[in-house]
């Protein structure tokens, strides 16, 4: 099968910290690609580079056949992103939010309305479309957020911890939804800390640690490699990344990075 994402020696450095260290991998069209790793391992940085939100220090990456650094606008037309932070305006209603983001992609109004209605119904959010999203619970917001990412019917969906902080019911419905996307041939890049979730959904799993990919295989092969009867994905993960908790500085807190006030290139965004 053809590769929809090709990553070669992709590197991102922040000053003296190498967040992503020359990683290479391919994602096949239509698969669910589980991207696992401890906090600060470089998952989010990799996702940000693949979604053109960050420029790689060196190396290449193509998404849907377009280079992320030289053709970012073409890449943007093919991707959808659900990140850690929910991308919705609290003071706009669900529908206004969707109309706004649809407009950004130059979709015709009736198409946006039609798709929004379809997806909102699928996620059981159709009765809330006229309410401001600020009044929603996290689970409700996340569902609208997913509809937002789906509006353009992207070929590649980046889901960065989509079930973080959600109740079991909402997590369940989101997992079912990911399966549904998979069934419709959408490529999904999924990062999560919930091992059973990754195990259940992913066709291929990459484990990244300290900026390097340390394992890349199907979930069943990964488990088979582990010297333990009935090993779970969690056993695999812990044996590969160690049991010690990480205390490296987390590079997502802008004010905690000891960077220059102005002009410093070390900032993430």
């Amino acid at each position: 099968m053809e590769n929809i994402i090709e990553v070669k020696n992709l590197t991102k450095k922040f000053k003296d910290l190498t967040a992503v260290d020359s990683i290479s991998f391919n994602v096949k069209k239509g698969e669910v690609f589980g991207f696992l790793g401890p906090n600060g391992a470089g998952k989010s940085t990799t996702i940000r580079m693949l979604t053109t939100l960050m420029r790689p220090t060196s190396g290449q990456a193509t998404v849907a056949g377009h280079d992320v650094s030289s053709q970012p606008d073409l890449v943007r037309e093919h991707i959808g992103l659900v990140a850690e932070k929910i991308i919705l305006y609290d003071r706009l209603t669900a529908m206004e939010n969707l109309m706004f983001f649809g407009n950004l992609y130059h979709l015709p109004k009736n198409v946006i309305k039609e798709r929004a209605a379809k997806w909102l119904k699928a996620l059981d959010m159709d009765k809330w479309e006229k309410k401001q999203t600020g009044t929603f619970s996290t689970g409700m917001k996340q569902r609208v957020n997913i509809v937002r990412a789906l509006l353009t019917e992207p070929e590649v969906m980046f889901l960065d911890e989509p079930t973080l902080g959600l109740d079991p019911q909402t997590s369940r419905s989101i997992r079912d939804f990911i399966k549904d996307l998979h069934a419709h041939g959408v490529t999904v890049i999924l990062t999560t800390h919930i091992m059973p979730e990754a195990d259940e959904l992913s066709d291929t799993i990459a484990i990244i640690d300290r900026g390097r990919i340390i394992a890349l295989d199907t979930p069943s092969d990964l488990k088979a490699r582990c010297n333990k009867p009935n090993a779970t994905l969690e056993d695999v993960f812990l044996s590969l990344t160690g049991r010690v908790m990480r205390e490296e500085t987390h590079n997502n807190i802008p004010s905690a990075r000891g960077r220059h006030f102005m002009g410093g290139r070390s900032r993430i965004r």
């Binding site: 939100l53 992103l81 983001f101 802008p254 965004r269």
Partner: protein, 390 residues
């Protein structure tokens, strides 16, 4: 983009309320805190009159009966025995100043000698005492003048026998041979509001554009929605232009709110051309847009953006001649104020609103504002592009 931002803004009721209240506050505070001569009334004045003669009585009467244009008494007179009593009174802050008339006052005047009235100012309050001294000097000079007129009149009558042409002479012409008259550009008296309103308009427009832009970008950055904009296939330029557009609308609306409040509540009158005024406001927005974008590109957090803004705005506020005339400032500050674009914005607005200046009188300001805005934008837009995608 712009529509979304405005919708977002209009939904925030609290912000909307303060958006209206802020300019009113500013007007009221600055307008009433700074005393102007015409607004003074009921000033406590100590009077120690040791003179038993007629002159002391006249002077006391004049001071007591002095009225403002609206008919309120300017002075509240309190009587003291001597200079030490007045000084005690000032120390106790019972009075804002004192007038001492010596016991030989009337007799000196009658015997054609120079008499003295001593003024005791309250040095802890220079502004009031300066105005007070001015008024008192004028009053005393006026009283002195009428005494002089009487005396000169008598002298003229005496000399007229020797030189008949002198009998036609008005004594006033000899005492003060030169008179000044005021020839105003606009009718009537101007008040401090008339001076401050254009400045505040300029200031509000600047603040709302700069702070609004920076805050809105950094808020989106913090909440993560900026990523949502950045992964869409729209150019960075249109993102920032959309944001600028919504801030422009906001800034203009706020400027107009100030203007209408100034007209309705404070009786400010627009003497100049409305079109030129609107154009100037728009130029003000344009001039500060670049700075706003630059700050929003530099600051990662909303708080950082606000701190940078404050640092930039504070000197601008005070050095631009919005509240205090530039001519009052020390020399080096005048130089600084010349490089602050806000100076030109408020000067130009003032020229148009108060002095009904036309295009020809403000074109330098227009050019300066336009060039400043264009240069800042030229620096800021590429900076923004580089900063958002690292």
């Amino acid at each position: 983009m712009a529509r979304k931002d405005l919708l977002d803004f209009s939904r925030d009721r609290m912000q909307l309320v303060f958006f209206m209240i802020m300019p009113v506050f500013m007007m009221i505070m600055t307008g009433f805190i700074f005393p102007s001569q015409s607004s003074l009334k009921d000033i406590s004045l100590g009077l120690a009159n040791q003179d038993k003669g007629q002159m002391g009585v006249i002077l006391t009467k004049v001071l007591t009966e002095m009225k403002t244009s609206s008919g309120a008494a300017i002075f509240k007179i309190k009587t003291y025995a001597d200079v030490d009593g007045l000084k005690q009174g000032i120390r106790a802050q019972a009075i804002n100043g004192g007038v001492f008339i010596g016991s030989d006052f009337s007799s000196l005047v009658q015997n054609n000698q120079q008499a003295t009235v001593s003024l005791v100012p309250d040095q802890s309050n220079p502004q009031i005492s300066q105005i007070l001294t001015q008024i008192l000097e004028r009053v005393i000079a006026g009283t002195g003048n009428s005494v002089a007129q009487a005396k000169v009149g008598e002298m003229l009558k005496l000399t007229a026998t020797a030189n008949p042409s002198l009998s036609q002479v008005d004594p006033e012409a000899i005492i003060s041979p030169i008179q000044t008259t005021l020839d105003n550009l606009i009718p009537g008296e101007t008040n401090y509001f008339q001076f401050i309103a254009p400045g505040i308009m300029a200031l509000i427009v600047m603040m709302s554009v700069m702070a609004g832009l920076a805050a809105s970008v950094s808020r989106e950055r913090e909440s993560g929605t900026l990523d949502g904009l950045l992964i869409a296939p729209v150019s960075r330029l249109s993102i920032i232009l959309g944001k600028s557009l919504s801030q422009t609308v906001r800034g203009m609306v706020q400027g107009l709110v100030v203007l209408f409040l100034a007209i309705l509540i404070f009786g400010v009158h627009v003497y100049g051309n409305w079109l030129i005024m609107i154009l100037l406001m728009f130029l003000g927005v344009f001039a500060f847009m670049g700075v706003g974008i630059l700050v929003s590109a530099m600051a990662t957090a909303q708080e950082t953006a606000m701190t940078i803004m404050m640092t930039l705005q504070f000197p601008m506020m005070f050095l631009s001649g919005t509240f205090f005339p530039i001519q009052q400032m020390p020399h080096f500050m005048q130089y600084i104020s010349k490089v602050i674009p806000l100076t030109y914005e408020s000067t130009a607005l003032r020229k148009v609103i108060v002095l009904s200046a036309g295009f020809s009188a403000v074109w330098t300001e227009i050019v300066i504002l336009f060039v400043f805005g264009a240069v800042m934008l030229a620096i800021a837009v590429p900076m923004f592009r580089r900063m958002v995608t690292r």
